[in-house]
């Protein structure tokens, strides 16, 4: 039942259409230097300051593979539970463009470095497996800037030659929500591995989105359109929604869909034809004769396997089993490596249950409000851990803890100090409490008499009075106990 509810279908007249989506994600490899040269890859540098003779394709310059990038690609393959190809080949993809200095992009065509793998998505109605077709290494192109001059185009080659991983999914995705979950999961895995920072604003993660539609229940795929170079999850979702509806309208209108490449116009929120299949480039792929086939040994791969950290799926399993977290809680805490690191640091010295609640509840809400990432949290894991311990050992109540927390958010202060400075410590000394309670009973003789004569509801009044007189610091549990005896 629940499965049907979340199914993404497009209804037209009496027909229901299913949307089929496959993604080609371009993920920039986290690396100090480029795929075939030693130039730096820092984002935001002055134009053309990170360009070597190789990147600018000077005569006689030759590419030399960056071993680190190869390792990063293989690690990513391992993270995608994929087949690592011990022999892969770099090909030239030939086309002319001003920001492509060589006149070809070095990519992998027939023999990619990573073969089939999979990604598990946690959807509201259960898990879903998305197949990975392949992962290959390729160079990025430079950047053409058309809007700085009315007549000329400027070219920035800083990106030229930067290593990208193209991760091609199988056409297994069925809704914008699944695309959202897929991209986030892929990003999460790569961030755990340290192979791609996943920063979409900086263009470290982009995708070409293949969309087709078919009547529900049909086995054959419809004709697909490829939406090029979409650089945010939101735009991907919007583009899919627009494109799927466009295709359904065409079918309902008795027309056919042309296989073509389209662009998503983020301002008009629509996809537009870029080139038809007939106009598709003939890239004249052939093995790059400047590079030998890339061969890696079993040992090389095994060594990399030993460097693979615990990945989100495994971590989630461990959190559930070891810390008795709910799948929901575990999912949230493992979704990115920084959050899980923070969580694990907090619980090193404090109660898991309280820590989980405080991180997912108070902390996330406070960070959200300030628009901060977990890495920018004003409260360090160590101090949050201290706060939780103050609650746990009864030094402060949960209510007071919220006040302390608010102050901690203003700057990473030691909660112990805040409690001391502001005198927020919970009063748990039975003698002191007794004195307080005696006074309250004394001041409210008439109510005490009423209570004793059977008006038990008045117990709450006395608790409230004690708390009020104590300035909220009285240990509520002890107050209860003593009051019961005294009344």
């Amino acid at each position: 039942m629940s499965k049907n509810k979340s199914e993404y279908l497009i209804n037209r007249h009496d027909n229901q259409y299913e949307v089929v989506i496959g993604l080609e994600v371009h993920a920039q490899v986290t690396s100090q230097s480029k795929l075939f040269s030693t130039s730096a890859t820092k984002f935001g540098a002055e134009p053309n300051t990170q360009v070597s003779l190789v990147d600018a394709a000077f005569p006689g310059m030759l590419p030399v593979i960056n071993e680190f990038c190869v390792k990063q690609a293989i690690k990513t393959g391992i993270g995608l539970k994929a087949k690592i190809n011990k022999r892969s080949v770099f090909d030239r993809k030939n086309y002319f463009y001003a920001d492509l200095p060589q006149g070809y992009q070095i990519s992998q065509f027939k023999d990619p470095i990573v073969g089939e793998g999979k990604v598990i998505l946690d959807m509201p109605d259960g898990q879903k497996e998305v197949g990975i077709e392949r992962l290959h290494l390729e160079q990025d192109a430079g950047k053409s800037i058309h809007d700085l001059d009315p007549k000329n185009t400027f070219v920035d080659l800083n990106r030229s030659g930067v290593a990208l991983m193209e991760i091609v999914s199988k056409p297994d995705l069925r809704s914008p929500d699944e695309v959202n979950a897929y991209i986030k999961k892929l990003r999460s895995i790569m961030r755990y591995l340290g192979t791609c920072d996943g920063n979409m604003q900086e263009g470290s993660l982009r995708a070409d989105v293949n969309v087709s539609v078919r009547k529900k229940g049909t086995k054959e795929f419809g004709t697909r359109c490829e939406i090029k170079n979409v650089n945010s999850i939101k735009f991907m979702q919007m583009a899919i929604e627009y494109e799927a509806n466009r295709q359904v309208d065409l079918i309902e209108d008795g027309q056919t869909i042309d296989q073509e490449t389209r662009l998503f116009d983020t301002k008009k929120n629509e996809t537009r034809s870029m080139r038809s299949k007939e106009d598709a480039h003939d890239y004249r792929y052939f093995p790059d004769p400047d590079l030998l086939p890339l061969e890696v040994s079993d040992d090389f791969i095994e060594n990399l396997k030993s460097e693979i950290p615990e990945l989100p799926d495994e971590k989630k399993k461990r959190f559930i089993e070891k810390f008795k977290l709910s799948p929901y809680e575990a999912n949230i805490l493992v979704s990115d490596i920084e959050t899980s690191n923070y969580f694990e640091n907090v619980i090193k010295k404090s109660d898991v249950k309280l820590a989980t609640n405080w991180i997912i509840g108070e902390l996330f809400a406070a960070l959200n409000e300030k628009n901060l990432e977990i890495t920018e949290s004003p409260i360090s894991a160590g101090n949050l851990s201290k706060l939780i311990n103050l609650i746990k050992d009864g030094t402060i109540s949960g209510k007071i803890a919220k006040t302390v927390f608010e102050q901690m958010m203003e700057g990473d202060k030691d909660p112990q100090k805040i409690v001391e400075e502001k005198g927020l410590k919970q009063e748990s000394d039975p003698k002191a409490l007794e004195a307080l309670i005696d006074k309250v009973i004394d001041d409210n003789r008439d109510k005490a008499t009423e209570y004793k004569s059977g008006k038990v509801k008045l117990f709450g009044f006395f608790v409230g009075q004690v708390m009020k007189v104590s300035g909220g610091k009285a240990n509520p549990q002890l107050v209860n106990e003593i009051l019961k005896k005294k009344l």
Partner: protein, 485 residues
Amino acid sequence: MSDITKQSLSELVENIKSKKLSSNEVTKAFVERSEKSKELNAYITEDYANVLNKAKKFDEKPNLDLKLPGIPMAVKDLFCTRDLRTTAGSKILNNFVPTYESTVTQNIWNEGAILMGKLNCDEFAMGSSNETSFFGNVQNPIDKNLVPGGSSGGSSSAVAAQLTPITIGTDTGGSIRQPASFTGTVGLKPTYGSCSRYGIVAFASSLDQAGPMAQNVKDCALLQEVISTYDEKDSTSIDFKRNEYSKELTKDIKGKKIGIPKEYRVDGMPKEIEDLWKKGIEYAKDCGAEIIDISLPHTNYALPTYYIVAPAEASSNLARYDGVKYGFRAEGENLIDMYEKTRSEGFGAEVQRRIMIGTYVLSSGYYDAYYLKAQKVRKLIKNDFDEAYKKVDAILTPSTPSSAFKIGEKTNDPVSMYLNDIFTVPVNLAGLPGISIPAGHDAKGYPLGLQIIGKAFDEQNILNIAYAMEEKINFKNNITDWWVK
């Protein structure tokens, strides 16, 4: 010494080391002779003032432990040389001055040699007669009307005419061995991966290889030991133990097994070539070698294979010359228009022809029929050699199917021009070393060369065979200084 330029490299090195000659004297002699030899058109760019300065500097503090102490040298204009224009014989690089040095030339300068200038060549090394150069054709010092061969035509002409004691060329399908053969000089194409391709303007990456061109085998061996180094900057460079080829050079080739491939007896081969080959076999026997008939069954397919593989790679390698970053640019209405005009005006006809062939054979729908098939045949050709080398140590063939032809004779017949590479091309396809040595003259008195093909990395062996045969052949070039002004 008035006969400085007549000396071989080895003699010059000897004389400089023993201080009988200074670098300045040697350099001046070669510069003066080069200046008097402009008619040959061997140079594209001269750097005489600089080289004379460098010679003086060398003499001030001579390091005589180097292998090429203060030796002036002109090199093929396909090698990028720092601060000196490098054109590849093309208009499209007419104004290109590299900020970097090719590994091969750097190796040469590291051993004390100094650069005199850049030598003419076919445009992007595409040609067999040096007639495709944007800078005009080069004359063969043997005869005014003869081509010097190609693509290293400036290099062969300059060595034969003694404008430079020695030089380097590049060989993609015969571009060192054929011009050596046409000019009565020695040219070695080393094993693919022996000399770094870093900083050499690329023609066909899987075939290109730099090598020495010299007046004799010993000089050739000396330069080979200087230029051949493993280079991390070239992914196809091979890390193998390199000999000190000149030191280990020996004429003792007794018992070496030399194969004679029957498939190299091609239809229509002039009798003079057949006779030369027979003579070569006799010389080899005289040296104590054993002659064995062998078969290289796929030889026939080498030329068509080469003319698919080489243009395919070239079409991609030359895509970078687009007018955007460096070199010649023709103004255009828009990017596409600029590309079209730049490449139409910047490249000559032969280069354009090969780009078109290469683009065609890589196109989808044709790739399998041409490029893929050619790669398979290439493997078969290599297998032929592997089989043959189970029985023999080296292979002896003519270098070319004819002596040097006349300037303009084949310019309108590209296929007949391509046929000139018939004996040299298989060696590139198989990545093997091959050396051409002058072995005789035809009826017109033009030089003819013999080619010795070796196993991969076995340069020492073919140099030894060449060295032994050189003595028996005792070749003398008939060169009058007709061009000297």
